[in-house]
Amino acid sequence: MIVFDQVTKRYPGTTADVVNQLSLTINDGEICILVGPSGCGKTTTMKMINKLIPPSSGSILIDGHDIGAIDTIALRLNIGYIIQDIGLFPHMTVAENIATVPVELGWKKDRISARVDELLDLVELEPKIYRHKKPRELSGGQRQRVGVARALAADPKIMLMDEPFGALDPITRAKLQDEFLKIQAKIKKTIVFVTHDIDEALKMGDRIAVLKAGRVVQYGTPMEILARPADPFVSELIGGRNSLKMMNLLTCGEVMEKVGMASDFAAAATVSIQATTQDALAEMFRTGQSTVLVLDDQKNVQGLIRLETLLESVSDYGRNS
């Protein structure tokens, strides 16, 4: 758990606080997104966690320990770090890059090489092919995968990610986001993720902290933020169509009515159980039917969704939870 307690950062010679009395609790195993416009203090906030930027006042605690009292190098070796420009070392091979932190920690050679292969497998780069390549031989997406592998090398509990997918084209970005969520489901790291893209925040975040002028204006799950934006600033950041965006966060599996026998609906429209309710709505529009069947991976009918269910699921969320 990472706790910000009344943290303020003001640079010498300036009058405005970049981060202003910020308090925030980041839970273990969650992706916490810091989102906001440029200059809102999100990157500064993140860089204070690994002491790249010292706070002017207030304290930051990791698992109850004030980081001010922890040795800087030891702290950083235990926190994975990924930045937008990735910062891969161009004179080192992919394997050497990934091995950076293990080498600093003094691991044995064969342990490092086994770990490198394991990580390359995790980020879906064939070790035999990619181990000896130099960063300049890789595409942007591949470099970012190596960046993720490098940050994970010593299995840190915490990872800091500063706009990690910002420099990629939209297709590669979406693909890497999906893959990263899959990896996170396995590794359950505590992740602080900085972005200015609210859609990325809604997609990737377990919890989102919306920052404005160095303060947290709203902190909650994506659904909470969509359902009840705290103020006009948050609404503007979301950019409207909140319900449609909420539908994107709900899967068909979550809202469907379970049915046993489905032979009656043989002719109906269908969606996959992992699809979003937005997909279900799109399918209704496409087929002109107000009911769709929900299929599992084996194409067996698991349930059905009616148009009324969709309306309720989204509007209910705003009212009840």
Binding site: I83, P90, T100
Partner: protein, 247 residues
């Protein structure tokens, strides 16, 4: 033709150039020794004499360049460290003054310090080769991608490790090219050592001029030129190898 093939073809051309330069130097020396204009020339120029002067020349260049490397590279590194960075413009300015003075004047002024002899020549040439090495070390380190250094810090490498594993390897091509400039210029400037009793091939130019024998002057002037070209080509080859090895 693929990149590797064209690279090795280029290297081959450089090796040939190197061999031709060496051959040219030998040919010139042999020609003058075997076909002297007159007895004066034959008395002044012999194989052992040329070898001795060449040795002196190379020693002066070697020592002054080595001194320049061991002083300028560490100084260049020091003034990129955050707490000493403010000194960088002052130190560069100081070294720039030495560079702005004509080389003959630097040599002459050094006599005031150390009298005549090869150590005077070495001092002057050392001063003269500081700037390219210092400047390139400074730029090489300062102009690295900031994100690379930030990533290294963020991952928990300490400043010393960052210097040895990241900054120096990445800055090395520029540092080496600074050394290349210094060595090449120094081989030419070392002719001036003769004027302060430091010896070297400049002796031939002075002696040849005194007795008005063109063969001796040409030999004394051409051998350093050939040596400078050899050094330059040698460095070129080395830099290629270095780049290939490091990718």
């Amino acid at each position: 033709m693929d990149a590797t093939a064209s690279r090795s073809l280029n290297s081959l051309a450089q090796v040939l150039k190197l061999a031709m330069l060496v051959a040219l130097g030998f040919f010139l020396s042999i020609y003058v020794v075997e076909n002297p204009q007159d007895s004066l020339v034959s008395r002044l120029v012999s194989y052992p004499k040329i070898a001795a002067l060449l040795g002196q020349h190379l020693t002066i260049v070697g020592i002054s360049c080595l001194l320049a490397i061991v002083t300028a590279v560490p100084t260049g590194i020091l003034i990129t460290r955050s707490h000493l960075r403010k000194w960088a413009p002052k130190i560069i300015g100081l070294v720039n003054i030495a560079q702005a003075v004509p080389s003959l004047a630097v040599v002459a002024l050094s006599v005031g310090l150390l009298g005549v002899g090869s150590s005077t020549a070495i001092l002057a040439l050392w001063l003269y080769s500081l700037l390219p090495i210092l400047n390139n070390t400074l730029t090489g380190i300062n102009e690295l991608e900031p994100s690379i250094i930030e990533a290294a810090h963020g991952m928990g490498m300490n400043p010393r490790r960052i210097l040895y594993k990241i900054e120096l390897p990445l800055a090395s091509p520029l540092i080496i090219s600074g050394i290349r400039t210094a060595v090449t210029i120094n081989i030419g400037s070392a002719i001036l050592a003769a004027f302060v009793g430091g010896g070297g091939l400049g002796n031939l130019i002075i002696a040849g001029n005194n007795i008005s024998r063109w063969q001796v002057v040409v030999l004394g002037a051409t051998l350093p030129v050939i040596m400078a070209l050899i050094a330059d080509t040698g460095f070129d080859l080395f830099e290629r190898r270095w780049r290939v090895k490091r990718g």
